[in-house]
C-alpha cells in the first residue's frame, strides 16, 4: 500500500499558494490539481487547522499562506496529512507462548522507527520554498 495522495496534493496546494501569492479558492485550486473542490477543501481544512494557511470567506475570498514558504517543511505537511505509524505491525497479537511471538514486536518497532526517522529526516530538509524554486527552474527551461 501507499502513503495516500493527500500528501502530494497538500504540497501542490501550498506550492500553488506560494507561487500565485493571492487568495485562491478551492475551486481554482481544484482546477490546477484536477479534482473536485471538496477534496481540496478537506485538505485545506487540515492545513488551516495546522496553521499553514489563512482562509477568507465571501466574494474574492480563498486561502493564502499564513507562514513564509521557506519555514514550512515537507515533514510538517506530511505529519498533517498522514497519521499513525508508517509500518503496520501484526493485526492480531502474536502468540505470547511462543518465544518469537512474544518478542518480535519490540524488535520490529525498533527497526521501523529508525526507518521512519530516516524518511522523515529527508522530508524535514525540504521546504515549500524549495518546491517552488524547483518548479520555477523548470518553467525557465520551458520558456
Amino acid at each position: 500500500m501507499s502513503i495516500n495522495s493527500r500528501f502530494a496534493v497538500a504540497v501542490h496546494i501550498l506550492a500553488l499558494l506560494a507561487l500565485e501569492n493571492r487568495p485562491l479558492s478551492s475551486k481554482y485550486i481544484a482546477g490546477s490539481v484536477n479534482t473536485n473542490p471538496v477534496v481540496i477543501r478537506r485538505i485545506l481544512s487540515l492545513l488551516s487547522k495546522a496553521g499553514f494557511i489563512d482562509t477568507q470567506l465571501g466574494v474574492d475570498g480563498g486561502s493564502t499562506l499564513a507562514r513564509s514558504a521557506d519555514t514550512i517543511t515537507l515533514l510538517e505537511v506530511y505529519n498533517v496529512t498522514e497519521q499513525g505509524q508508517l509500518f503496520a505491525l501484526h493485526s492480531n497479537q502474536p502468540n505470547p507462548l511462543c518465544p518469537c511471538g512474544r518478542n518480535i514486536k519490540p524488535t520490529l518497532l525498533t527497526v521501523f522507527k529508525k526507518a521512519e526517522a530516516a524518511l522523515e529526516g529527508i522530508l524535514a530538509e525540504a521546504t515549500i520554498a524549495d518546491v517552488v524554486q524547483d518548479i520555477e527552474a523548470q518553467l525557465q527551461s520551458q520558456s
Copy 2:
C-alpha cells in the same frame, strides 16, 4: 495509510524459521503469528518465489530457510512483500495548463525517491539474523 502487515509477518516467519531450524508447517507458524494458515501460506508463497525458503510437501513437511539468516536483509523482505511506490502521487493528472500542475510531479518524485531511499537504507542494514539475535537477547533477560 500504512505499509501493510505482510512485511511484519514475513519477518516474523523468517525469524521463526531461523530460530527453530526445522521444517515448520503453515499451521504451526500461524499459531505463532496468531492468524489463519492461509494468510501464512500466501506470504510463504512470496518468500518461496523469492528464494528465501524451501518448502516440503507431505507428512512432517513445511518450510525451511533456503539462505543463511545473516544474508537476508529486511530490505529484501520489504521488497518482496511491498510493491509499487511508497508515496502516491496525484490520482488524476494535474492540469498541464497550470505552471504548478505541469511541473509538480517531477519535483515531488525527486523528494519522494530520496525519502524512500533513506528508509530502504535502514532496512538494508538489518538482517533476519539481527532480528533473531535481538529476540534471543530478550529471551535471556526473561529467564
